[in-house]
């Protein structure tokens, strides 16, 4: 049955009357009930109707050992990194380069000039597109600028921002490895908790305006910082509902599309979602349809055509999704 404006108004008035009456009755008889302000629902996966629809168009084997990260460059070349090193594919999926790293690589990013940044646990390596080593920087340590346990990195212009799970913050460097500042670090003097990541999942991206977008898993939200470290905003709520982040703790991975939307991945209830920059859910890729329950650490990337690439480490594959409006 459709609701007309008149019946809607009538129902609204009735609801207000009921609420007032209930409030009066509770006051009269001493009935006091707290209000649940969380909206928390303990539910299984519910696949929502969304503005955009995701369709899987391709799945291919990654072939880099234990899968860790993915990046896509300006020419839509796909860079995969894992325990066996780096593998580069062209847009058609043909392998164009592979190279090894001296130890397990954790993450990968590609600068606009084509320089490839590969993060080891406490060191950053740079390569050209063919895998020729260009340099290395970073050292293990507890002081600012030293690395604890890197899980991700992003490059824009002269800035390299490293997600350091070991130190629960982001660290900003220039492209030569010179430390600039911390981002999202706890500051008790300001009652600022900062980034909370109970397990080794901490991912970030830098948008075209130079803002750092980071998944804060312990806070179950996405946060935006300036490069100098100022918290600019945050959105996201805990919960199993489609638009929320399932506890605890998510999102584990994050990427930006070229048009500024934010793609997130979760563990526990493995699912991938696309949000607009304000946190409005646009598309939903369900666990039920695509991912094994054991999937976690699903790194993400987007190409120039808006396709989303999802690493699925449990199966060792990459899934490619096209995002578009549903027919009609």
């Amino acid at each position: 049955m459709s609701i007309t404006r008149t019946t809607y108004s009538g129902r609204l008035a009735a609801a207000v009357l009921v609420a007032v009456a209930a409030s009066w009755a509770c006051g009269a008889v001493g009935c006091r009930k707290h209000t649940d302000i969380s909206g928390y629902e303990e539910i299984g996966e519910r696949i929502p109707e969304t503005e955009l629809r995701a369709e899987r168009v391709r799945t291919f084997e990654a072939k880099v050992g234990e899968l860790r990260g993915i990046a896509i460059d300006a020419d839509d070349r796909i860079y995969l990194v894992g325990s066996l090193g780096v593998r580069v594919l062209n847009g058609e999926g043909a392998e164009v380069a592979t190279w090894k790293t001296p130890e397990d690589a954790r993450a990968i990013a590609v600068a606009d000039d084509g320089t490839v940044y590969v993060a080891l646990t406490t060191r950053i390596l740079t390569f050209d597109r063919a895998g020729k080593p260009l340099g290395a920087w970073g050292a293990e340590g507890t002081r600012p600028g030293e690395l604890g346990h890197v899980t991700s990195l992003a490059v824009r212009g002269s800035d390299v921002v490293v997600a350091d799970w070991g130190k629960l913050c982001l660290q900003r460097f220039d492209t030569t490895g010179r430390f600039i500042n911390l981002i999202g670090k706890r500051d008790r003097t300001k009652d600022f908790i900062g980034i909370l990541a109970p397990s080794a999942y901490l991912d970030l991206a830098i948008d075209r305006d130079g803002r750092v977008v980071v998944g804060n898993p312990g806070r179950l939200r996405v946060e935006t910082y300036s490069l100098s470290g100022e918290l600019l905003g945050a959105w996201g709520k805990p919960g199993y509902q489609p638009e929320r982040f399932s506890p605890c703790c998510n999102p584990t991975n994050l990427a930006l599309t070229r048009d500024g939307n934010i793609v997130t991945a979760e563990k526990g209830l493995p699912r991938v979602k696309v949000y607009d920059p304000t946190g409005k859910l646009l598309a939903y890729i369900s666990q039920r349809d695509y991912f094994p329950k054991e999937a976690k650490g699903m790194d993400l990337a987007a190409d120039s055509k808006g396709r989303i690439y999802v690493l699925e480490p449990f199966g060792g594959v990459v899934m490619v999704f096209e995002i578009g409006r549903p027919p009609g």
Partner: protein, 284 residues
Amino acid sequence: MRGRVGMLAVVLGAVVVCGCGRQTPSAAPDRIVVGVCDPLAVETASPCVRASAKREYGEFVSALGRRTGLEIVLKYCASDRDLSEAIAAGEVNAAVGKTWTILRAAKASGRTFRRLADLPGPGGESELTGVFIVRRDSPLKTLADLDGRTVALGPDAAYEKSHAARRALEAAGATPRAVRVLDGCVPVAAAVFEKELDAGVVSHYVVDFNGLALVSDPDDFRVIGRTAPIPFMTFAVSGEVDERHGGDLYDALLGSSRLKPPVGLQTAGFDVPTTWSPPELEKK
């Protein structure tokens, strides 16, 4: 020692994780698949106490298989939710986890699980409580002070942080103005620290094992009350498990062929289950 001890024990070396149905031998009358979700175990630790969680189940399950002659598979479940789903799906016919988690999941899915033995925590504790925390600089001193305030409770799946916590507030005569259900110690501690909420409830082991340090210095929080205790961890088997096999397991845990727990289990031994009949299980 029982004659059966001499039998060839068939113990699968595989350790699987919940939801891994395509790789997991299904639970069957002659095969025990033990779903394990222990907040203090390495593989299934609660986020807040991950650094302190050292419990290991592999050696214990192997020893249990050898002692009983049963084929026993260990199936780690990353969360209470995963264990509940494994119980509901019939993927496991035995479980080690929070007593409420197991009983609730069994009831919800129409299955029967009976507790064979309770598993004390590493400190010997057999009870689980919810702990009400506030900021150190909060004026709130007791649970009664939470009347008209805002409080973070846990989901129904976490008894000590939901049902027991509501009961504790009621007993103290406190009706919070608003309640926010938050799942997990990290969001609760963060909401309290940032003054989004006046108080929150976490499991006792989060406080005992310094778990609040993940969010801020533990000194930044103060405890103002606790819930009534409930049984903590238990070993339970489903009604589908052959009574003879259930008896073998009982004997290995508590009876005549009692097993000395391996060091990794961090306990001196199992206890006889305490009686507990939460009214919520009686509800439809």
